[in-house]
C-alpha cells in the first residue's frame, strides 16, 4: 500500500493477551476507533446514520492521522456496502458501520458478502426501524440479519466492543472461515456512554491482510486463472444447478460453524456462564446482560438465587453450549431490547422442554430496562415455579 502505517505488526493473540494495556475512560464509539486504529485496515467507507455516525467520524480521524490509508463517504448504505464488497474482492481489509434503517437499506448486500466469502467487518450500533421514525436503541435489526450467513457477535460493554472489533478481522479472515463478521453494540446504551476500557498502549497493529492467502481468488488480474468470475452463478433449470446453489449455501453456514474454534481461541467461550446451579437462569445478549447483572444483585438481596448466561456469539448460534448450560434450570428468563424476541425464539428452538422459558421483559422503541422490572419477572417466575 502507498501509505505506511506507523504501527508495528503483531499477531492477534499477542495483541489480545500479551500487549500492555492501560485503562482509558472512553465511549463505545471511541472503543471502535481504538480497535480500528490497531486493525491495520486498508480502507473504510462511511455513511451517516444516528447513532453510528460518531464512530465513522472517528475512523475518518484515523484516516487523517495516517492509520487508515483510504476513506470516503458513499451515497447510501446499499452503495457503501457494495463499495465495501468491491474493495474486499480487490484484496483489501475493509471496515464500515451502520445501523437500523441503514441496515435495512443495505440488506441485499449482506447475504452477498457471505456468498462471495468476503471477510468484511461491519459494526452495527443497533437502533429502531421506521415507521414511525425513531433513532432510539433497539436490537430489532439483528432479527433480520440472523439468516444472512454472517458471523454475529453481540457486545455488552465498551471492553467487548474493543476486543470483539479487533478480533473480528482475524476471525473473518481465517482460511476456513472467510465470511463477514457483524459486531453488534446497542446504540447509545454503549456507544455513547463512557466506561473504563483496557486499551493497548504499545505501538502495535494486526498483520496486514494478505489476499494471496485467501481461500477465494482476488479480482486484480494478478491471481490465476485469468478467466475468472466472482461469483459465478449456475442459473439453469436442472438438478446440477440446484445442487450447486444448495451446496454453496451449506458451505457458507459450514464456514460460520468452523469459526467457533477461532472465536474460542481469541474471545473465549461463545457463552459466559455465572452461577449455573441456580434454579432460575437469565439468558441475555448485549446490554440486556448488564441489566440482568443488576437485577441478579437485587434478587440476591431478597434471597432469590439467579444465574446468568451471556450470549456473546449469536451466529454461529451456540446451541450445544446453551442446551448444556440450561440442563438443570427450572426457569429461564430472556430479557430483550426488541419486540420480536429473537433471542428467546433462538433458545426455544434448540432447548428440550422449552416451556421453561419466560420470554420477558421485552422493551423496545428506545425504552430502557430498569433492573426492577426484570426483578419483578424473576419473582413471578419463581412464584409459578414453587406453586
Amino acid at each position: 500500500m502507498s501509505k505506511k502505517n506507523p504501527l508495528t505488526e503483531k499477531p492477534l493473540d499477542y495483541m489480545l493477551f500479551k500487549a500492555k494495556r492501560e485503562k482509558q475512560f472512553i465511549t463505545g464509539s471511541e472503543a471502535v476507533r481504538e480497535a480500528v486504529r490497531r486493525a491495520n485496515i486498508d480502507i473504510a467507507i462511511s455513511y451517516p446514520i444516528t447513532p453510528q455516525s460518531e464512530t465513522m467520524h472517528l475512523v475518518g480521524d484515523l484516516f487523517a492521522e495516517g492509520y487508515v490509508p483510504e476513506y470516503f463517504r458513499g451515497e447510501n448504505e446499499f452503495a457503501v456496502m457494495s463499495q465495501v464488497a468491491g474493495a474486499a474482492m480487490a484484496g483489501a481489509r475493509v471496515f464500515t458501520a451502520t445501523c437500523g434503517p441503514g441496515t435495512m437499506r443495505a440488506f441485499e448486500v449482506f447475504p452477498m458478502w457471505s456468498g462471495s466469502r468476503l471477510p468484511v467487518v461491519c459494526s452495527f450500533m443497533t437502533r429502531g426501524i421506521n415507521a414511525p421514525l425513531t433513532i432510539q436503541p433497539d436490537t430489532i435489526e439483528m432479527a433480520f440479519l440472523l439468516e444472512t450467513g454472517m458471523i454475529m457477535l453481540h457486545c455488552e460493554t465498551a471492553r467487548d466492543i474493543y476486543d470483539f472489533n479487533l478480533a473480528a478481522f482475524i476471525i473473518a479472515e481465517e482460511k476456513d472461515v472467510h465470511i463477514p463478521v457483524g459486531v453488534f453494540m446497542d446504540g447509545f446504551f454503549v456507544t455513547h456512554t463512557r466506561e473504563l476500557v483496557d486499551i493497548i498502549t504499545e505501538d502495535v497493529c494486526l498483520p496486514k491482510y494478505n489476499p494471496q492467502a485467501a481461500p477465494v481468488p482476488t479480482i486484480d488480474m494478478e491471481t490465476p486463472p485469468a478467466r475468472l468470475m466472482r461469483d459465478p452463478f449456475v442459473m439453469k433449470s436442472n438438478f446440477v444447478s440446484y445442487v450447486a446453489h444448495a451446496s454453496w449455501q451449506q458451505e457458507v453456514r459450514a464456514a460460520a460453524a468452523r469459526s467457533k474454534k477461532h472465536i474460542k481461541k481469541y474471545l473465549g467461550e461463545l457463552i459466559e456462564i455465572e452461577n449455573p446451579a441456580a434454579p432460575t437462569i437469565i439468558v441475555a445478549s448485549g446490554t440486556a446482560v448488564s441489566q440482568a447483572r443488576e437485577a441478579i444483585k437485587l434478587a440476591k438481596e431478597e434471597n432469590i438465587d439467579v444465574g446468568l448466561i451471556k450470549v456473546k456469539v449469536v451466529r454461529p448460534f451456540p446451541k450445544d453450549e446453551i442446551v448444556a448450560a440450561l440442563s438443570k434450570a427450572k426457569k429461564i428468563i430472556i430479557p430483550e431490547f426488541n419486540i420480536a424476541g429473537w433471542l428467546a425464539k433462538e433458545v426455544a428452538a434448540v432447548l428440550p422442554d422449552n416451556g421453561r422459558i419466560v420470554a420477558t421483559p421485552r422493551v423496545y422503541g428506545g425504552m430502557t430496562m430498569p433492573p426492577e422490572i426484570l426483578l419483578e419477572d424473576i419473582k413471578q417466575a419463581v412464584r409459578k415455579q414453587t406453586q
Binding site: M89, M221, A226
Partner: protein, 283 residues
C-alpha cells in the same frame, strides 16, 4: 498482470481444453488489439448463451476486442442478459447484485490503485439500461460525481430483456411494453446529457452498426478513464427476442436508430481534449 496468471502447469497442458490453450498461446492479453484484428487472435469471449442476432453479444465481442490493456482490466457487470455472457470471458470480472455495479467498481478501483500504485488497472463497468439508469442510477451518477476513474458502458436495449421485455427508463415514450400496457408515459432518460453535467470527461452515444467506431470509442473511453476521470459509453443494442426482430435484421434496426435518437454524439471535456492532444491519440 504477470504473464504467470495465464500460464498453465506443464503437467496439465494436455488436459486443458483446446480453447483455453489457444487463449493462453494466442489471446489478446498482452497486445493492444482493435476490431480490425478480429480473426487473428483468440477472442476473450467466443461462446455465450445469448440469443441469435443479439446486439448486446455483438457489442460485447467488440468491446472485449478493443480493450487497450486486457492484461490489467477488470470488468464489473450486473444482473441481466449481459451477465450471462461473462462467465466465459477470459479476464477477471465480478457479478455482484443488480444495480450496484458502479459502487462495486468504485471499491475495486480504489483498492487496486492502492495495491498497485505503479500499474494502471482499468476498471470497466458493463451493464444494461435497467441496471445503469433505473435501479442503479444513483450509484452510476454518484461514481461520476466523485470522479471515480472508471468507464461505464451501458448496453441499451431500451427494455428489461432478461425478465421478458418490461418498460425501462430508457424505453422511448409511447412504446408499449410489459408494465406499460398503454405505452410509456414519459420520455427516454437522457443519460448522455446527464453524464456530461455529472463529471464525465467523455461520453458517447452510438450503436452496434459501426463496429470500428464502437471499438475506437471504447478504447478512448478506457484510456481517458485511466488518466483523466469517469467516462460513459451508451450503446444501442436492440433486442431481437423481445422486439420480435428477425435476427438477421437486428443490426439494421440499430443502424436505423442512428437517423433519430441514436445519432452519433460524442462529448469530450477540455481536460480530456488536452490529454488526447498531449498523448497524440485524437482518433
Amino acid at each position: 498482470m504477470s504473464k504467470r496468471i495465464t500460464e498453465m502447469c506443464p503437467a496439465l497442458n494436455d488436459a486443458m481444453p483446446t480453447e483455453y490453450r489457444e487463449l493462453v498461446e494466442n489471446g489478446p492479453w498482452l497486445g493492444d488489439k482493435t476490431v480490425k484484428d478480429l480473426g487473428t487472435f483468440k477472442e476473450l469471449l467466443e461462446e455465450h448463451p445469448l440469443c441469435a442476432g443479439c446486439n448486446l453479444a455483438l457489442s460485447l465481442k467488440i468491446i472485449l476486442s478493443s480493450l487497450p490493456n486486457p492484461a490489467d482490466t477488470i470488468i464489473v457487470g450486473s444482473t441481466g442478459c449481459s451477465s450471462l455472457g461473462f462467465m466465459q470471458v477470459g479476464i477477471h470480472n465480478i457479478h455482484s447484485l443488480f444495480g450496484n455495479q458502479n459502487a462495486v467498481a468504485t471499491g475495486v478501483k480504489r483498492v487496486l490503485s492502492m495495491r498497485f500504485p505503479d500499474k494502471k488497472k482499468d476498471v470497466v463497468v458493463m451493464a444494461g439500461d435497467g441496471a445503469t439508469a433505473d435501479i442503479g442510477l444513483d450509484m452510476t451518477i454518484h461514481s461520476w460525481f466523485r470522479g471515480e476513474k472508471i468507464t461505464t458502458i451501458m448496453f441499451d436495449n431500451e427494455l428489461y430483456a432478461n425478465t421478458g421485455g418490461q418498460e425501462s427508463g430508457m424505453t422511448p415514450a409511447g412504446r408499449v411494453a410489459y408494465m406499460a400496457p398503454l405505452g410509456k408515459k414519459f420520455p427516454k432518460i437522457n443519460l448522455f446529457e446527464i453524464a456530461k453535467t455529472s463529471g464525465c470527461h467523455y461520453a458517447v452515444l452510438l450503436t452496434t452498426a459501426n463496429t470500428v467506431r464502437l471499438g475506437a470509442c471504447v478504447k478512448k473511453a478506457i484510456l481517458l478513464a485511466r488518466d483523466v476521470g469517469p467516462t460513459y459509453v451508451q450503446i444501442h443494442t436492440p433486442c431481437p427476442t423481445n422486439l420480435k426482430i428477425p435476427p438477421e435484421e437486428s443490426i439494421k434496426v440499430a443502424k436505423d436508430s442512428e437517423k433519430e435518437r441514436y445519432a452519433f454524439n460524442e462529448y469530450v471535456s477540455e481536460a480530456a481534449k488536452s490529454f488526447l492532444e498531449n498523448t497524440g491519440n485524437k482518433k
